[in-house]
Symmetry: C2
Subunit: 512 residues, 2 copies
C-alpha cells in the first residue's frame, strides 16, 4: 500500500469537494416499476397457511412475563412451563390488520423525514458492526471516535435516509451507557431520522426521554425513533427484544420485526420452510405490537439467507437470499405492511469484486421488491462484522445510481429531437449540436467512484482500483461534513440528562 | 503480487478440479418472471412512431451498391448521390413482420444447440477485444495462442452457451486469414454454437464453406453461425457490414443487428432520442435481411449507453445503459423479434469492485429484460479493450448464480417441513435433523469464487481478494478442459480448405 500516494490524492479531493455524490440533494426514492414477484398468489397462500399452522400448533417461545400475560389476556394458549405461546390465526390476523400500511418517520430536520410504505424505498446505513476498517489503518475495534465519523458520513451522504443506531460498537464506552452516548452523539452530529437499539425497557425509555428533549413531548403521534427486533430463530423471542418491542410499541415508535434465519441452521434447509417459519415469526411479533398498542408503526422484516454448505458460515448475496428478499416483500404486501430488507450484504473481507457483486445480489432484489426500509445499504463488509469506509463509498455510488435509474426519462417531442437527428444526419456526430450543448452538463448519471479513463491515463495516475479511489472519496465526504444546528439549551438539557443517567446506570445490567 | 503464492494454490486447484462451476451441466436458461418494463405502451408507441419518422424523412445511409438496388426494387426512395435510403413505414414493417420470432442456433454437438426467443436467455462470451490480461502476465496484445485458451475456457464453462468469434484479436496472424484461423481453431477446440465475424462477402462465404464441411451441406434450414452487424451510428451502415448482412441472410445464418450508440456522441444526448434512433437503425437492418431472404433468422440488438460527461469516453454499466437494455427488449417484443443485449460491460481497468458492480448494472437489467442473446457475458474489461481471465471467472460465477436464481424453489408439504419445524421447536437448531441431512449437500447455490470463511482464516490463507482467487479458478478450468471429438476426415478437409484459401487470400483486402 502506497499510503503517501493515497494521502496526496485524497487531500486534493478534500479541498475540491467536487464529487457528484456530494451534490446530490436529499430526497425520497420511489420505485415506479411494478414489484418483481417470483411466487404466484397460490404459493404466497401456501406460505401464509403454513405460518398459521406453525403459530397454532408449534407456537412461539416468548421469554418475558409481561408478554405472556398479554397473550393470555388476548386469548392465546400460553404454556408457562416453557413460555410457549400458541395463537389461533383469527387472533393473529385480527391484530396484524390493525397495523398501519404506511407512516412517516420523523427526522429532527422536518425536510429529512421519511415516508415508509407503498413504493417508497428508504435507505439506512450499516448496523451492528464490531470492527471498522479502512485502507489507511486496517481493521480495528470500533470506538466512540469511529462512531462519530460514521455518523458524520451518513449525515453528509444525501443518498442515505437514516442515521445512528449501532453503526459500530462503542468498545471504549461502558456498556451501561452506550445508548446514551450514541443518541447524544446523534443529536449533535446529524438531523436525519434516527435508528436506536430497541433492547429491553431501560434503553428505549432513555431514548424516548432524550428524543422528547429534542422533539418536544409529543413523539407518539408520529414516530421519531425505530429499532430492529430480532427474533432468536427458530421460533423464539428473548426477553431483551420483547421488552424493547413492547416499549417501542407503547410509545408509538417503529418496531422492525426481523427474524434472523439462516436456512439449514435456524430453520429447515428448504427455502419454503425457511420462509414459512420467517412468516410465522414476524406475524407473531407484529400481532404483539398491535396488542400492546393498536395502530403502532411496525415493519415486516426479513433477513433470511442460507448457510454456506462447506463452512457452515452464513452466506450473503446468494440466490437464496435474493428469493427471500422478493418473497418477503410479497408476504408483507399480502398483509398490507411496510417491508424491511437489507442491501449491501456480503461475506467479503476486503472491498473487492466479491464485496461488490454480493452486495448487488442483495441490493437489486431489495430494490425490485419495493423494500420500504433497506438496512445495511452502505458500509457492510465481512458478514456484518466490519464496516469498511471504502465499502461505504462503493455502496453510496450504487444507491446514487438507483436514484437516477428509478427517476426514469421522459419521452416528448423536445427530447426525441428528430430535428437534431435529421440535421446531423448519417455519419455525423452530436457532440456540438445546440440540443446537446444545452443539456450536456446534466444529461447523464455522473459517477463519483467509477473511472472511465483510458488505460494509459489510469496507469500513469497510479493504477488505483475502486477501493483506493473510494478511500479518497470518504475523506472528501468527511471534509465536507457540516454539523446541523442544535439549540444550545437543548444541548445542555441533553448533557444534563446523560450526566444524570450515567451515574444512575453505572455498573447496571440494562436487561435484568 | 506474490505470484509463487498464486502458483501454489492454483496448482492445488488444478489437481482437484472441484469447483462447483465445473460440475454445472450445460442447459438452457429461461427467465420465469415477467419481463421488467419501464415504459408503458404509449411510450413504446412514441419510440416506434419516432423511428418511422426518422426512416421516412431522414433515412439511413447504406454504403453498398447491391443494398441500394434491393431497396430501390422494394420501393424505397434511394438517393444515389449520398447513398441515402428513405423507406416508408409500410415497407419496413411488412418486411420486419417476416422475421421469425424465435429459432434454434445449432451447435456441432446437437446437445449444445440453443433456442433463441421467448423467455430464453442465451449467453455468449466477450468479443472484439484487442488485449488479454491476467494477474500473472499483465496486459498484452492478443495472439492465436491466447485465442485458443479463450476458446478452451468457453468450452469448459457450461454456463456459457456460445463460443468463437473475435474473443481477442489474432495480432500474430495475417489479417487476410484470421477468420480461417479462428474458425478452424473453433472446430478443433469447441463443439458449442459459434459466433463469427459477419464482415463483407468473403469472410462469411469462407465461414459457410467450412461450416458445411463440418455440418454437411444443409446449413441454411437451421443456422449454425451468427455474427454481429454493427450500425455505424448515426444512421449509417458501411459496406463491410452490409456485405456481411446480405450474405448471412441469404445463407439463413443469424444476423445480430446492433447500433453502437453512445448518447451524446452518436445520437442526441437525450435517451428518448438515442432509443428512437436505435430503433430506426435496427429496423432498417432487419427489414433488409428480410428483403434479402424472407424468414432469415435475425436478432434485434441494442448497445446503447452514454458518454462520460467528464472525459467524453464511453460509460458502461450506467443507469442510462440499464434503461436502454430494458427499453430495447420492450421494443423487440413489440416487433416479435428475439433481442440481443450485453452483460458484463464496464470501464474498469482491473477486476475490482468497479468491474463487478458495473457488470451487474448490465447483467441484472439484461436478465430482467428477457434478453435472448447476451453478448459479453464473461470476460469484458476496460470498455471492451481487454479480456481479463480473472474477470471471466467473476462473470461466470454471476451467470451460475442467475441459473440458480431463475430455477426458483418449490413449495409443497415435504419442503415446508412443518413436522421438522415442530420437532426442533423454539430455540433449537436444524443442523442435524433428518430433513436437513437428506438435502444438505445439494440444497443451496455453491459458490466457486465467493469466500465465506472467517476473517482470521482468510487472512492466514494469504488475504486473497476475489481477483486472486479467480486467477486460480481459470487455471483450474483450463486444466479440466477436454477437446470435443472431431472426425479425422473432417479435420483434414478443414485443413485443406484453410491451406488453399490461405494461398488465395494472401495480401488481399477482404472488404473491397
Amino acid at each position: 500500500m502506497d499510503s503517501s500516494h493515497i494521502d496526496r490524492r485524497s487531500r486534493l479531493r478534500q479541498q475540491r469537494g467536487d464529487s457528484p455524490l456530494l451534490r446530490l440533494p436529499f430526497r425520497q426514492l420511489r420505485n415506479p416499476m411494478k414489484p418483481v414477484e417470483i411466487l404466484d398468489e397460490e404459493q404466497i397462500e401456501q406460505l401464509h397457511q403454513a405460518a398459521m399452522q406453525i403459530l397454532e400448533n408449534t407456537g412461539i417461545a416468548m421469554m418475558d412475563e409481561e408478554t405472556l400475560a398479554i397473550w393470555e389476556n388476548a386469548g392465546a394458549r400460553v404454556d408457562k412451563n416453557n413460555q410457549r405461546v400458541r395463537m389461533d390465526r383469527g387472533l393473529v390476523m385480527e391484530a396484524v390488520a390493525k397495523a398501519p400500511a404506511s407512516f412517516t418517520w420523523r427526522a429532527r430536520n422536518p425536510k429529512l423525514s421519511n415516508f415508509v410504505g407503498e413504493n417508497s424505498i428508504t435507505l439506512a446505513p450499516h448496523g451492528g458492526m464490531v470492527y471498522v476498517s479502512d485502507l489507511d489503518n486496517g481493521r480495528r475495534r470500533g470506538t466512540l471516535k469511529e462512531y462519530e465519523n460514521l455518523v458524520r458520513l451518513s449525515q453528509a451522504c444525501n443518498v442515505i435516509h437514516y442515521n445512528g443506531g449501532e453503526l459500530v460498537a462503542l468498545n471504549d464506552v461502558d456498556s451501561s451507557i452506550r445508548h446514551l452516548t450514541r443518541l447524544y452523539t446523534d443529536f449533535l452530529l446529524t438531523d436525519k431520522a434516527l435508528i436506536e437499539a430497541a433492547h429491553g425497557r431501560v434503553i428505549p425509555l432513555d431514548s424516548f426521554n432524550m428524543a422528547k428533549i429534542v422533539f418536544g413531548d409529543d413523539i407518539s403521534s408520529t414516530p421519531v425513533l425505530g429499532g430492529v427486533i430480532n427474533v432468536s430463530s427458530p421460533l423464539r423471542y428473548d426477553g431483551r427484544m420483547l421488552g424493547g418491542l413492547l416499549t417501542y410499541a407503547r410509545y408509538g415508535q417503529v418496531n422492525i420485526i426481523t427474524p434472523f434465519i439462516l436456512a439449514g441452521a435456524m430453520s429447515p434447509v428448504t427455502m419454503a420452510a425457511a420462509l414459512a417459519q420467517q412468516n410465522a415469526e414476524v406475524l407473531a411479533g407484529i400481532a404483539l405490537t398491535q396488542l400492546a398498542n393498536p395502530g403502532a408503526p411496525v415493519i415486516y422484516g426479513g433477513f433470511t439467507t442460507n448457510v454456506d454448505m462447506k463452512s457452515g458460515s452464513p452466506a450473503f448475496g446468494t440466490p437464496e437470499g435474493a428469493w427471500a428478499l422478493l418473497v418477503g416483500a410479497q408476504l408483507a404486501r399480502r398483509y398490507k405492511l411496510p417491508y424491511r430488507g437489507s442491501g449491501g450484504l456480503n461475506s467479503a473481507k476486503t472491498p473487492d469484486a466479491q464485496a461488490a457483486y454480493e452486495s448487488l445480489w442483495t441490493m437489486w432484489p431489495a430494490m425490485l421488491a419495493h423494500t420500504n426500509f433497506i438496512l445495511h445499504s452502505a458500509g457492510w463488509l465481512e458478514g456484518g462484522m466490519t464496516v469498511s469506509l471504502e465499502k461505504y463509498v462503493i455502496d453510496a455510488e450504487m444507491l446514487a445510481m438507483f436514484y437516477h435509474f428509478m427517476a426514469g426519462f421522459e419521452i416528448n417531442d423536445e427530447n426525441l429531437a428528430l430535428d437534431s437527428i435529421d440535421e446531423v444526419g448519417p455519419g455525423g456526430h452530436h457532440f456540438g449540436t445546440a440540443h446537446t450543448m444545452e443539456r450536456f452538463s446534466t444529461a447523464f448519471y455522473q459517477p463519483t467512484l467509477g473511472d472511465n479513463l483510458g488505460y494509459e491515463v489510469w496507469e500513469s495516475a497510479g493504477s488505483w482500483d475502486a477501493a483506493r479511489r473510494a478511500n479518497a472519496v470518504w475523506k472528501e465526504i468527511l471534509a465536507n461534513y457540516e454539523p446541523p444546528a442544535l439549540d444550545a439549551g437543548i444541548q445542555e438539557e441533553l448533557e444534563a440528562y446523560v450526566a444524570r443517567r450515567t451515574k444512575e446506570l453505572a455498573g447496571k445490567n440494562l436487561y435484568e
